[in-house]
Symmetry: D2
């Protein structure tokens, strides 16, 4: 690796290079990671190495919501199979971390649907890997078989998130026309905790006014 | 002034000291202000000096909403006397800059009420200078004489702002009981433009869910 | 002023505009300045206004080093006329604030020369307003009449500062050839307090090595 | 792990926890690492896992300077065994990354000595793991057997780095008294590239003046 002038042993340079694949990690921090690992006990390196090697062997995606789950648990995750949760509400999020943050609030007791990414406004292929078709089928089944269903589009309030929400709304449009018990909503926009009117952007301020209550 | 080791002529040090009264300005930036003024033409210094000296002589507060206005304009400001604005909606803000930012959105066409500050949770005297009594009378008059009135409490979503809004709600409570055409609302809380669910605080995320639409 | 949608009385908008001439101050902070002034007593506004109006009337530049000084003090500043300071050392700085910061260290006991700006590498006219000719004459007089003289070029270690120092070195070159008692030096480059080798730029690290002691 | 409310499969939580051992990595970024790994091919996970597991098996420390080196290379690293480098200069650094950054400048052509840490001013035991005794022996051998030797103490200009350099100077003091061909130096302090006199701390400015040249 030219970057380091071949100053480190080749296996260190290899590992540094692998760490730069991690999100947000450049060569300098990757180097720090490697030198911190050199100070760890062999047992920790063994454990970390095996955890990484076996990561995908032990994990699968929930067949309903696409959350990560242990293969040992079966096909459906603990949230989807929890009878105490409200099966009539499905919150659609971009990724698992968003779901985790929402769970922490304790305010939502329904189910989730992990899209696995967002649609990029200028890339028509960017919808491909997303679990949108599965969402359609899941919502349709609920609309047909269950009393009612609310789909909460909880994508980020960013250009990509809004594009994705809009796309999903169009996909679900036929269902909405056919099934009156299907409701589609979006997370509320407005002032976030600790923000100030003087510095708020126009869109946020407008939404805060329109969504007053 | 010990701070500068008496290194500048006394009138410069005096002016530096005066500039440190400006919000957010420390001695270093105050010093830069003074040296930048030394490079200005006499005519600019004359104009700036006179503008400051005459500032309060030419300005008064609107007798209705407490906005700053030119004395030459009379007693009531241009917004309060604008017949095209919706007199049945009064947005209560902490300070004029908040009003200016809201005006930029173009979404609110009612009137304003400038409180002139906030209530500090631990300081019972902090409500004194605020135009809350005047708000009460203004709202009462509207409830009695006009068809209906909505008071939008648009204080900041901060501890002080929330304390202030709560205090005003209590003050207006008797009016609300007597006049059914009086409605009190608050700006909507939720996700602001460009924020991300993964990093949103719990309160904001909870509000975004509860205020979904 | 379009910026503010004519929302403030015209004299406030005028004053806001004047404050945006201050270094680093945009319309938003200028607005805060004006509203904070509206809360000051008339006596403070009077004092501030007069200080600004009289600023240049009471201040002049030292005829030797070009520091600001009170007209009442005469023609030569307190440092230049201080017999206890070392007249054989002249530190050349870009602006007065640099001199003030150096004085705080208490390590330099010589005299200063304020250039009044820097030379921009791509602008041949940028040397015009600087007190370089006066530096030449001052240094020449010292070389001729006094035992020895050291000129310390204390411009910033930036592209502009380095260009300026280089330019001055060329200007002083003829003097240096003629007068062996003239020494020209520059501030030392190296690691600053609290910095880290791991993050230091190459130039700084190289200088730290070459200037080791 | 309480932190994540048991929301992820246990092997994911285990791996997240292991990643939080990395320097500067909190639970949130550790989570991102894990989810980014879930998107990698099995072959990358295999490679990364094995690289970590074998890290210490393939690497050893140079017996002379304590740099990391491949076991396959022998006992002495490529720099220590490079005949073209100046064996009379030994630069003492806190850690390998400091050495790498210095090598990038291309200005130092001597040898290095990796301390492996710093001495904490309030912890008398913190000198224990450092390669100071080995430095003493290495320098002594050079002083006895070679023409001359310069030890450049290149610890960081921080409290810990300065404490460490001072400690080493005391350790080497007896050698310095006995061998006149032993020189001890420190990296130069002064203004770093791009800094400004107006904002420089007093210590840096004082050093920049004293180290002028």
């Amino acid at each position: 690796m030219i970057l380091f002038l071949k100053m480190f042993p080749s296996n260190l340079e290899k590992l540094i290079e692998l760490f730069t694949r991690f999100p947000g990690i450049g060569p300098r921090q990757a180097t720090r990671f490697v030198f911190s690992l050199l100070k760890e006990d062999e047992s920790i390196l063994e454990e970390l190495g095996n955890s990484i090697k076996n990561l995908k062997k032990e994990v699968t995606a929930c067949q309903v919501c696409f959350r990560s789950m242990a293969k040992a648990e079966g096909n459906v995750c603990s949230i989807c199979s929890d009878k105490k949760r409200d099966a009539s509400a499905v919150m659609v999020v971009e990724k698992e971390s968003d779901m985790v943050n929402m769970e922490k609030t304790g305010s939502f007791r329904g189910l989730y649907h992990i899209l696995g990414g967002v649609i990029l406004p200028l890339d028509p292929n960017s919808s491909r890997g997303l679990h949108i078709k599965e969402l359609f089928e899941r919502v349709k089944a609920k609309a047909v078989n269950e009393g009612g269903v609310e789909v909460i589009l909880a994508t980020n309030p960013t250009t990509e998130g809004d594009t994705t929400a809009l796309y999903i709304e169009r996909v679900l449009e036929p269902l909405k026309s056919s099934y009156k018990n299907l409701k589609i909503s979006r997370l509320g926009r407005g002032l976030s905790l600790g923000s100030e009117l003087e510095y708020a952007d126009e869109s946020t301020l407008k939404n805060a006014f329109l969504n007053r209550k």
